[in-house]
Symmetry: C2
Subunit: 214 residues, 2 copies
């Protein structure tokens, strides 16, 4: 299995965690998002992923893009270490938490959006940081509220073992810390993040541990 990845990509980081949790060996193929005008936008890469984004996963069956679709695929093809609970309502909750990150927070903070803000709208460095912080803080408040009030929240986002929700939360917290956002106002997020990064599967997936880390 080959994972086209960039060490600091939040979406690639999610897939690395899931592969590690499931104990799936893979070959990391680095795609540098800042070099050569963005290697993800070059024809060679667009040939395997027309969206020009990371990650892309390739196995003997085919080529897959979009982190959530990849995680669901891994869940269906490698069910031995499950990342979704068995009950439909629990499964919906895990996906809901993952999607707060993947739909409500992360899309507003990725590289292409930052470029547009600066290059097309001419926003200042300060206004860019305020934008980043705004969407993360709003999303974390929502996530924390979901975690705080639900009896299913445990050592991890849902129960006592990691799920897809944790695969999504951890890279987002990593980003938040990188942008110097204080996560103390979100005690469940902070606690779950701590529990996750103590596990080898999460540690091994961290940006600083990747072959292409800078």
């Amino acid at each position: 299995m080959k994972l086209h990845t960039y060490f600091r990509s939040s979406a690639a980081y999610r897939v690395r965690i899931a592969l590690n949790l499931k104990g799936i060996d893979y070959e990391a193929v680095p795609v540098h998002l800042l070099r050569d005008g963005g290697q993800q936008k070059q024809p060679a890469y667009r040939h395997i992923n027309p969206s020009g984004m990371v990650p892309t996963l390739q196995d003997e069956r085919g080529t897959l893009t979009q982190s959530m679709a990849i995680l669901e695929y891994l869940e269906e093809t490698h069910p031995a270490v499950p990342l979704l609970p068995v009950d439909p309502l629990g499964r919906a909750r895990v996906r809901e938490l993952a999607q707060i990150v993947s739909c409500d927070i992360h899309p507003l903070n990725n590289l292409r959006v930052m470029h547009y803000l600066v290059d097309e709208l001419g926003v200042t460095e300060d206004a860019k940081k305020t934008w980043l912080r705004h969407w993360i803080i709003e999303g974390f408040a929502s996530m924390e509220s979901h975690l705080e009030r639900h009896p299913g929240t445990g050592k991890f986002c849902h129960g006592e073992t990691p799920t897809m929700a944790d695969c999504f939360l951890v890279p987002q917290v990593f980003n938040a810390l990188r942008f110097e956002i204080d996560i103390a106002p979100y005690p469940n997020i902070a606690r779950i993040y701590g529990n996750c990064i103590a596990l080898p599967a999460f540690e091994k997936a961290a940006p600083g541990q990747q072959p292409d880390a800078e």
Copy 2:
């Protein structure tokens, strides 16, 4: 089953399509995103959905948010009319196409982002429209390329019957047309959109057909 919905919400529109395709009766509870400073942000609504967004689905089991999580839940609890194929690679592809819409296009164009652009960054009406068009055009180019090159594309995004991918694509095309974006450069998107809206399940879910339509 109760669906908290707003007629023009793209995310609620996706769920309405899926409910109709599966033949599930539901009660529509309108949440007006522009009235009372946004009814979705009021305590009464946040009590059922702390994210303060539509849609929210309530059934006898519990309360669910996030459109993709809701569609997966409906698929698991009401499998009679499937919106995912049976093979893992096909399922991954349908989710991938849905996520191009839900992660790469729609989050950049929703109401709260438009408000931030105008209220916080002071962008002009023209620059706001350019922003909207930019992300839809970039996303549609990517979607079209995925559809064009894949043998699984049929009368619908994947095969000869509607899937989750179509539930996501149609509301996004509806938005694009509302913003006067020409979809002729995306022949597969335009063709599939036409095939979808000819079906009663899609027609009944359209914004103009909702009890809260204006």
